[in-house]
Symmetry: C2
Subunit: 324 residues, 2 copies
């Protein structure tokens, strides 16, 4: 038997190297193999490969993602936690607020109050916790909230309640020339404090709800004053409208979740693109590892069936859910 020649060594090395590369090339390791993962990869390869019949110029590779229930957990809504946190802080500074609504209801965990008050009660809570201060002051409050508050049931930092498979998907899209946007019901000044570190999405690519604002340039203040009242509630039909205002293009990929039927029009708007396009709808069907919830009338899942959207089953399609 001959001894090992340098050429043989090189061949062995190449073989190992290639196998390793192939293994390392799974761009979505937290996604289980299956039709959903395949549909994503097929789509991304097709639209980003020059010469492919479905090739899309890089400038038009726009992807929009809902946030709550799509990129991080929404049970409970993180921004709802923030409102509660703000009420506690405000009562601490001014104990007389404890006897006034909506502070009282929050301090006493009075669900009845909010159920009776409905949307108006929620808006009032938003007004007192999200307005009446400058943008700069609000950002400081949000930073402090994320620094100190933990998720009430998952008992971990709020930086750990994002979905690992989705962060891989965002990176995979950007590696193929996509520009990734958030289009969510959360308010912009709230989300923007953390979207870059959580998802690699800069503030200017975050579309959300927002309070009215007034610009003040006097008496030493040069800032936005956050006012009571919503300028836009970025949900349902408002999502495509705000995408139009903000981006001026239709996405070729849109991803939302079932739960509140908030994303159906964003997905439909995406589907009206003349380029090849893909719609993903996250289905919260994993009570063991995350949460299980559905819409009473099943609107989102019914539309997914009617319009051939890809339904992502957390139970079946996600190998891991959270970063840890």
């Amino acid at each position: 038997m001959n001894s090992v020649t340098p050429k043989m060594l090189v061949n062995i090395y190449l073989l190992i190297f290639i196998s390793f590369r192939t293994l390392a090339q799974d761009p979505l390791p937290s996604w289980n193999d299956g039709p959903v993962k395949k549909s994503i990869i097929d789509f991304v390869v097709a639209v980003s490969t020059p010469g492919n019949i479905d090739f899309v110029p890089e400038a038009d590779r726009i992807a929009t993602f809902d946030n709550d229930g799509t990129l991080w957990t929404e049970k409970p809504l993180i921004q709802g936690l923030f409102a509660v946190y703000r009420v506690h802080r405000m009562v601490q500074h001014n104990p007389s607020l404890r006897d006034k609504q909506p502070y009282k209801a929050v301090m006493e965990s009075d669900r009845d109050y909010f159920e009776k008050a409905g949307m108006q009660g929620v808006m009032k809570l938003f007004d007192v916790t999200h307005a009446g201060m400058t943008s700069t002051e609000f950002e400081q409050e949000v930073k402090e909230f994320f620094r100190t508050v933990q998720h009430p049931t998952l008992h971990t930092s709020l930086y750990n309640v994002t979905y690992k498979p989705q962060i891989e998907l965002l990176k995979y899209l950007r590696a193929h020339g996509f520009k990734t946007f958030i289009c969510s019901g959360g308010t912009e000044d709230f989300m923007r404090v953390v979207t870059d570190s959580l998802y690699g999405i800069p503030p200017e690519q975050v579309i959300g709800s927002e309070m009215k604002m007034r610009y003040i340039d006097s008496a030493g203040i040069n800032d936005m004053m956050r006012l009571p009242g919503m300028k836009t509630l970025n949900d349902k039909q408002e999502k495509p409208i705000n995408i139009r205002y903000h981006i001026g293009k239709r996405p070729i990929l849109a991803c939302g979740n079932e739960g509140g039927a908030g994303d159906i029009y964003m997905l439909r708007y995406c589907q009206g693109n003349t380029y090849r396009n893909l719609q993903l709808l996250i289905n919260h069907d994993d009570a063991d590892r995350e949460f299980k919830y559905e819409e009473k009338d099943n609107t989102s899942l019914n539309m997914a069936k009617q319009f051939k959207w890809q339904v992502v089953s957390i139970k079946q399609d996600w190998k891991y859910i959270f970063p840890q």
Copy 2:
């Protein structure tokens, strides 16, 4: 005398090459040397050089530019030309409109009508020419307008009425890691058709005024319907507010023009940045090569003096104005 050696040739070549490189390195060849050009280059070098005391992380190198009178000529307003163009097209399709206002006033160049009708008359003209169709239809109209209409006094394509020094400035900023945005009074769907080819600014980096919209997903239509009424008139205090909504960061460089005092708050907002920042105000003082006009009360130039903004004199600071 010795003959020319190869080494001498190399040295001569290097000398020529270096001189040529030095010449080629003027990043703003259409700007005359002087304090304004120097202030721009000093600023850009400082904020983009790691280790410099004024260094700004790339993500925060945001620049916002007004469009009308700042990036292209505003005498007359190009979007005003478009409104007139639309009226002519509409009357062509439906001659009975000729007897109705505001069509009649446009067809008869009746300045009195618009002077009497004031802002309300202008808004009515906007409503009939900019609404009542889908975004897709509107875009087609704008494309056709730019393809066919010439500037009335400069007698050239509307692609040739941009300011060459400003296009150099935009490129220079991007080459130093800036993200360049337009923040102008023009409507977004109008500007976005041409900003990429004119300025290298993609639709998602264009902030403007805009009509109200409704999303329609029925009867075979999946599009935005443009409605009468402005959602936002992006002028004066609305500019910083829309920058906040759209970008979520303060610019470190803002550039506007005197003429209508529309940019003063955008420049003030920029000036409130905690990073080193620069404000540029274009002064239309060149009747021979462009236009000469000023504000009655001189607000913009007075504020420039008070707050130490750089005033760009078209006459003195710009070697060339238009691309040709």
